[in-house]
């Protein structure tokens, strides 16, 4: 560790050795990078929720937005999975996603999982659409998605706020010398 040694400049601003200045600058840049990364994480987290809401609006008015599923493609893909199985999948997914998100919330984990949740939820919308039951099961997927993504957003917002606070304190410490 380089020790600060004030030189005899006779009342002028203290001059730091080059090594200290470089290290401080490096730490400052690192903090700035972290702050930008945390801000990006926050934006991405909110973006998953916005995209889910947009997809849900599309699913709600699927009769207007989406064309009827082509018979040729349906014949090629085969019959849809039984409705009970899709319901069961949704319940299992909802339960495990909530438990995992709460566990991550408790641990203070900072990894964003919103994109994978968005993928799962859109898949459920697709399965219900393919089975011709999107109208009847829309609210199930919507309530599951809204709960999981709001909780995920809350977790990320808390994580980003705490980390940003730490980075700002670090920056303030560097500024004070």
């Amino acid at each position: 560790v380089t020790v600060f040694q004030p030189d005899d400049t006779g009342g002028q601003a203290p001059r730091f050795p080059d090594g200290v200045v470089a290290r401080t600058e490096r730490l400052r840049q690192e903090s700035l990078r972290n702050i930008r990364r945390l801000e990006r994480l926050g934006v991405q987290s909110r973006l998953t929720l916005i995209l889910f809401m947009a997809a849900s609006a599309g699913a709600m008015f699927h009769g207007l937005v989406l064309p009827t599923f082509p018979h040729d493609l349906q014949a090629h893909l085969g019959p849809p999975p039984p409705l009970g199985l899709i319901h069961l999948g949704l319940i299992l997914y909802g339960f495990s996603a909530l438990v995992l998100t709460l566990a991550r919330y408790t641990k203070g984990e900072g990894k964003l999982h919103g994109w994978s949740h968005l993928g799962f939820l859109l898949s459920f919308y697709f399965f219900y659409y393919y089975a011709g039951e999107l109208e009847g099961s829309f609210w199930s997927v919507f309530s599951a998605g809204l709960t999981i993504l709001v909780l995920e957003n809350l977790r990320m917002a808390n994580f980003c706020r705490e980390e940003l606070q730490k980075e700002k304190q670090k920056m303030a410490g560097l500024k004070d010398g």
């Binding site: 409705l83 009970g84 319901h87 949704l90 319940i91 909802g94 339960f95 909530l98 998100t101 709460l102 919330y105 039951e133 009847g136 099961s137 609210w139 199930s140 309530s143 599951a144 809204l146 709960t147 999981i148 709001v150 909780l151 809350l154 977790r155 917002a157 808390n158 706020r161």
Partner: protein, 289 residues
Amino acid sequence: MIKSFAVRAIVPVALSITGFVILGCLVLYSFLRTDLENFSLRRQQELADTVMQAAHYSMLKGDRANLADMVRQIGRRQGVTHLRIFNKKSMTITFSADPTEVGTPLDRTAGGCIQCHTGTTPRETLGPMEQARHYRDKQGRMEVGITVPIPNRQECSSAACHAHDSGERVLGTLDIGLSLRPLEETLAAVRIEMAVFCLMILILSIGGVSALLWRNVFAPIKELVIFAHENTRDPSGGDPHAGEEDLEAIVGSLKEMAERCREPIVKRNGENRDNSGTGSANGAAYRKE
């Protein structure tokens, strides 16, 4: 952003419970609705089969008056919205509960016909679910229509009265429409019951979790914060957490810390008072305390 400790702890738990209870209720309702619809459909198919069996003898005997009367009587039953028998040969409605429909031509693109008449060769058999179609009537009420083909049985083609060609597989169709109003009323009642039940679970679980957290975590922490503030001013304050081991330890540490911090000040104050000739007894008493 939420900064309160209590709110930050309760909101995720409340949100998870609320979301999962609502999801569970919605999925359970979907299961119930599918089961009730299937049950209702099976009952309606049984009714269609019963009508078919009842009509068979009259058709075999060529008793048109009896058949027409039977169709009218069944069509008057509550919940039956329409009942028709199509004749394949004449391509018209031969018998109907609505007398104005008799003799009108058959529209192959209509709801009940399209299932068989999609390709170039009409289908002769349909699965139980394919026989049913859901639609809304002119008043916007949901109905289910069941179309059952009337097969050319051996006794039909070999009968002396009006023998059909044995090569004909289907002689016509029976189309019966039934109101789904009773089912919709049952489902509406289930929805209300489920919503009330869901609300009760939410109040109980979120209220219970919040009350337990408040009583066992937030209230002691709040008391601890107040105690820490007051202790900086008056270290003689009482112990707010008697009986709670962890918090008693924190209170003890806080008291000890406050006393250690205060000691030099009290000593200094005592020395000042000694110098001025007053307050030495007070200082000694405070240290003793």
